[in-house]
């Protein structure tokens, strides 16, 4: 440490940058703007993809069985329910829950308009979600024709939650059949569904009478404590026939996200938006650093005349780029947090600041500043020490 203090030099890069506070402020505003643009675009992209697994994340499962024919949550195919019985043979399996999953038409009881709602059917006595509060509500589903409505569903489904809280009897049609709202749950809309409802397996089959007997769309598997989901998944894959696929919980979520990534332009559009932010930032930083180097060219030439190496001066410009990156990133991160909260409030999209995105945007800003600094360094070649005499 003492060696470092002995070797340290005058912080020339910092002093050059701060000599003109107004210019520095403009530079930082530009970098922060580019950073915010990247945060927002990447946040929207990831938020939309995360939204596609809003319900997936809630399941109480370590492993999930699905049909290999399933493409996504909006097109679930069925597989034989007895596969869940087979997996119980594995000593690591603690329990299973068969789940029906399909989109049905919900009629808004106020406007009489219909809209697709994700309907999840399960045995009310089986664990479904990690949230224990649901188990307390599930018993109301034992009565046929009862549903639990997701109060976070979009308002197009009608004022269900407020009516229910007022004590009104809320009845409507689902798939052309009468159902009554027996309670509220809080799940949240996803990419494929603007609203959700839970019902018993029995009610589900009444609403969807064409469901093949013994067929389910999802099989939730819970493992004993200490079991390795990856190893158990591998064992089950070897054990089960080809009419079913085994996923870890994370793999199940990724499967859904990948569908939206690959089948929609969302990823491309928002990544392009982030790239535009990157390019705008590059232009801003380059302009700032180029004019900074140009303004200080006689001083750089003086330093060269004194015996400073070109590499020393390049280092000064590089440090200026690094300082701009760090100083520009901080306000971008803070503003990003605020804007994410605004987006969450306005759209209910799960847009949160996470470490990966924080790091990614910092690396992009750093690359932006260092790349621009590298281009601005070419101007240093014009610094002719002979011209200063």
């Amino acid at each position: 440490m003492s060696g470092f203090w002995q070797r340290r030099r005058i912080p020339l890069a910092w002093l050059l940058l701060t000599r003109q506070p107004a210019r520095l402020a403009v530079a930082l505003a530009g970098i922060a703007f580019a950073g915010i643009l990247m945060f927002m675009q990447l946040g929207f992209r990831d938020g939309l993809f995360d939204a596609s697994v809003t319900v997936h994340k809630l399941f109480d499962a370590d492993l999930v069985l699905m049909s290999p024919r399933t493409m996504s949550s909006i097109g679930m195919a069925g597989f034989p329910r007895r596969r869940l019985v087979q997996v119980l043979a594995d000593p690591a399996v603690r329990g299973t829950t068969p789940v029906h999953w399909n989109l049905m038409l919900w009629r808004n009881p106020e406007t009489r308009r219909t809209r697709s709602i994700l309907t999840i059917g399960f045995e009310p006595g089986d664990p479904l979600f990690s949230d224990p509060s649901l188990a307390a509500k599930a018993h109301v589903l034992n009565q046929q024709g009862r549903v639990l409505f997701d109060e976070r569903s979009r308002p197009e489904f009608g004022p269900i939650a407020s009516w229910f809280r007022q004590g009104r009897t809320v009845e409507t049609e689902v798939a052309g059949k009468r159902v009554r709202v027996a309670g509220l749950v809080a799940l949240g809309p996803s990419f494929g569904a603007d609203g959700n409802m839970l019902t018993s397996r029995e009610t589900f089959l009444r609403l969807m009478p064409n469901t093949p007997p013994g067929s389910i769309e999802l099989g939730l598997i819970r493992l004993r404590n200490g079991s390795d989901p990856l190893q158990v998944a591998e064992r089950l894959r070897r054990m089960l026939p080809d009419d079913v696929s085994v996923y870890t919980k994370q793999g199940f979520e990724e499967f859904e996200k990948n569908y939206w990534r690959s089948s929609t332009a969302i990823g491309f559009i928002f990544t392009l938006g982030a790239a535009m932010g990157f390019i705008v930032g590059c232009v801003i930083v380059y302009q700032i650093l180029y004019s900074d180097v140009s303004d200080h060219l006689p001083e750089y030439a003086t330093l060269m005349a004194m015996g400073y190496r070109l590499i020393n001066l390049l280092g000064v410009v590089a440090r200026e780029g690094l300082l701009l990156a760090v100083l520009g990133y901080l306000p971008a991160w803070v503003a990003g947090q605020g804007l994410y909260a605004l987006v969450r409030h306005g759209t209910k999209l799960p847009v949160y600041m996470n470490n990966e995105r924080s790091l990614l945007v910092f690396v992009l800003i750093l690359a932006m500043c260092m790349g621009s600094a590298a281009m601005a360094m070419r101007k240093l070649a014009d610094a002719d020490p002979a011209e200063i005499f």
Binding site: Q6, I10, L12, P298, T302, M306, L310, I388, F389
Partner: protein, 261 residues
């Protein structure tokens, strides 16, 4: 104060001349636009020698300084500085050599974002084997030596022209050069300060065997010179290696004449 600074790093007497120019030619442009600015210059400057270079504007003095200072490529002839032949030398060799050469520019060329102390420390930072505190203390010592101990933290735009020039001089000296090249170092100074500065340079030359080549039109300082070299149209007409006997008595006369004129 000055004596303590000059005594800090005594140098052994170098066995070779600090500067040796032989048949030096230099020109700008090419073809019909070619303009010869240095013509067949021969000049030797020994360690500890103070040489003043005079002559009318545009006669090639500054170009000569830049060639000796390893700031330009030598076109024709030989320039040896501390034994290193600059003709054909690499950029790295010239850059390394410049660390041994102190340069005082007519336009100060102080770094605008640095205080007087920091500007001088930029010179001291070139010294190897000196810690941060030692370099900073050295910078303060040199600023004290040029009478600016009360202006350490001032930025260049808060200093007068003469004060800037003194900071530039302190910066050049803080790097403990073996050769000092100065372009009109006293032009912006009043007579008292100018005298102090040239005495400082003279002391540097005497105590540290630092060779000094100074372009000047200031007749008040001619007496410090061991030799005055006069240049016209790119040629040395007085005081070159052919006229080593141009001595101090003649310098005094020249100074008197200039002062009277």
């Amino acid at each position: 104060m000055l004596s303590s600074l000059l005594a800090t790093t005594p140098r052994p007497v170098a066995p070779e001349p600090s500067v040796q120019l032989r048949g030096l030619n230099h020109w700008y442009g090419s073809g019909s636009n070619r303009r010869q600015v240095i013509q067949g210059v021969d000049l030797t400057i020994n360690p500890g020698e103070v040489v003043l270079l005079t002559g009318p504007s545009g006669c090639g003095k500054t170009t000569l300084l830049t060639l000796v200072g390893a700031l330009r490529q030598v076109m024709e002839g030989s320039v040896r500085v501390f034994g290193l032949e600059l003709k054909g030398s690499t950029r790295g060799q010239r850059q390394q050599l410049r660390r041994s050469i102190g340069m005082i520019f007519q336009g100060h060329n102080l770094l605008r974002c640095l205080s007087a102390e920091q500007n001088v420390q930029m010179g001291a930072d070139l010294l190897p084997d000196l810690g941060y505190r030692a370099r900073r203390d050295l910078a303060r010592e040199w600023l004290r030596a040029v009478g600016l101990e009360d202006h350490l933290g001032k930025l260049p735009h808060d200093l007068s022209g003469g004060q800037k020039q003194r900071v530039a001089i302190a910066r050049a000296l803080a790097a403990q050069p073996r050769l000092l090249l100065a372009d009109e170092p006293t032009a912006a100074l009043d007579s008292r300060t100018g005298r102090e500065v040239v005495d400082l340079l003279k002391g540097l030359a005497r105590n540290q065997d630092c060779a000094v080549l100074m372009v000047t039109h200031d007749p008040r300082i001619l007496d410090i010179a061991d030799r005055v070299v006069r240049m016209e149209d790119g040629q040395l007409i007085d005081g070159g290696d052919g006229e080593r006997l141009w001595g101090a008595h003649r310098l005094a006369d020249t100074g008197r004449e200039s002062a009277e004129g």
